[in-house]
Amino acid sequence: MAFYIARRVAAIALILLVISILIFAITQVLPGNVARMIAGQFATPDVIAAIQAKLGLNDPLVVQYWRWASRIVSGDLGQSLIMERPIGPMLRTALANSATLAAVSLVVIAIGGIGLGIIAAIRHNTALDHGISVVTFLGISVPEFFWGIVLILVFAGYLQWLPSGGAGDSATGAMSLKHLVLPAATLTFALIAHVSRMTRSSMLETLSSQYVLYARAKGLPERVVLIRHALRNALLPTITVLAIDLGLLIGGIVVVETVFSYPGLGRLLLFAIERHDLPLIQATILVVAAIYCCANLAADLLYAYFNPRIRYGRARG
């Protein structure tokens, strides 16, 4: 198991290196220019040249990449060109906000999705099963920003129960929990169908397998059959879906953060791209890529934990 983990971690380091080169290359060919962004639409060429020289944008690309990469390795994410402040603290706050929102959403998606999937499987082809299908599909087939605005209009505008957006004051914890409800609900609604559908179908498959029949024949109580025998196997594909969902969550969070004025990673990235703030774009994408890699690693490890064949099979080869 340790060897397996070490191999996977090494692979991730390599992937991140390649990604860092890719990000750097892509940001170089993006249309537009940060000096123009700073100087404004109507700047004359000599002003742009002066700013470019100041920012060191005239050095060869390899030099620029080396300067950037070596700083990152030493833990310095650099300075935002537009905001003229260090990226590190800004990114940390945004990441903490997004991570809280994503974690809460993912937990609700996992528990809610698996729960709904089990209920739908046990009561399959009943009104309850169809009801769950319809509701979860409604969530997945209409984009997040629509549900987000509906929730704002109803719960913040009409009923006035919850705030319409923001992350609250970091000083008071209770406030920020209140601020999480609507964005987390929006994300959950958008993604829960994946999990509930996958759980439902793999539960159905497992429930009709030989060993479940055998377990039932042995006279085990239904609860034990469901949870001990069926669920453990049925969860394998669900874990993969959850890892993919985490990727979708990172994408969906950009939209949800904008609708709910939530100061997270997605908004920061959007801001960086709009303003052509290269160091900020590079640092943010690198962090997102790292998160994605780690999520996949976590999914693989969980998978290996649930299914011993994987870890031994891979470790030998």
Binding site: Q41, V47, E84
Partner: protein, 498 residues
Amino acid sequence: MRRVIGFALTLVAAWIGWVQPATAAGTLKVAVPSNLNTLDPAKTKIGEEYIVNFLVFSGLTEIDRDGRTKPDLAERWTASDDLKTWTFYLRKGVKFHHGRELDAQDVIATVARIQDKATGSVTRVNFELIDKMEALDNYTVRFTLKAPYAGLADLFSDRQARIVPRDRVDTLATAPSGTGPFKLKSFTPGDRVELEKNTAYFVPGVPQLDAVVLRIMPESAAQAAAIENGEVDLVWNLPLEAIEQFKKNPNIAIDSVPTSTWDGIIMNGAHKPFDDPRVRRAISLAIDKKAMVELALFGYGTPTHTMIPPGHPFYDGDLKDGPPDIATAKKLLAEAGLPNGFDVTMYTPVGRPTRERIGLAVREMLKPINVRVDIQRVPWDKFINEVEGKQAFYVDGFYSRPTIDASIYPWYHSGGSWNTTLWNYKNADMDKTLDAARAARTESEQKANYIKFQVLALQDPPGVIPYVINHMNAYRKNVKGFQSSPMMWLDLRRVTVQ
């Protein structure tokens, strides 16, 4: 003993009950749509940043609601007869937020910084005309100009020309220190800007608010919900498309003021057939400005002759401008050798909804004079690089400038920076009038020249400026003493929250 404790608790409860609403009431919470890029005034470019510029910093002068220049950090100023030497006398005892007293060297450092190309300030071109600066003493600055200019005092009210402390220029973007009514408490990018009262502000008894919070909320539905449930007290610069959402609530007032921000129908005189003044005049006669306000702005704007907004003391209210005169327009086209009209492509920028709607309206309004318009929508990047200044016929737009001269001269004078990019317009009379306005010694002389300018601008139009856009704010009725500013910044010095 128990009674004593009980009494003390009651007192505490009363104290909390009394104190809490009072502190809460002294905070004004404002929703703004975009994140701020920088807090360094010289580098600011968007309205949200200008709000902070005016709350945290002061200028040498300021512009009041009627467009007149008033003292701010400068108590008074004088100009030599040839308008080339200007002397500004600073208020004494004004303190920056970090405690040091403002002096003449700060003013000089501020201007030098704006003039430096590496700063990249958008107002740099305006300050290029300053040749020499010297501090006559701690509170007196003398500027020597390259050419006579009557509007120097007005320029010092500009959004980027806020006076900054020379010992803190490197930290302006993150920890600005100014002389304004509020000081920065914190800025969380993407979330909020928190400001608190500057108790040492140089006007006694001002400001009345204890704190101001700017909440960054990009989504207008979220803004509407937030003002409805009291999360914010004021929504700044309502998008035209969303005003109806705010109108329903009886607890919310909407305040509207014409700005000098305008959209324009650009006809490039370097291209046929717009090199013929008769063609340009014909097109301008066919445009229904009143209808344009309805179509492009849903009514939230004001028809105008030029960028001088109606309501400004220099606006010519007697000038006839509309309704459309199709017969004369057709006659002019025939005289220009185009009796059957012509085909033309008009470019509009995607993502600038008012300008896109102008494009559609122009197409319909020009049909009666047989000018057939084909509309091409182009992305903003492409618009800047390939359309602006290069194509013959397109819709563009510009934000208010701080002074009448800075709003007009670059667009209408044959040597103006914008004219040479946009419409390549030459009219000797116009040049003479605008130069005379620049050198005018009195307000009435200035006004006479700007009235003449407006007449000329309609007689021989380089393009059409159909309207100026209104700036609108929504606020809860417990906010007292608030008035929207034509410059779109928030003057909160005398505002209170009840």
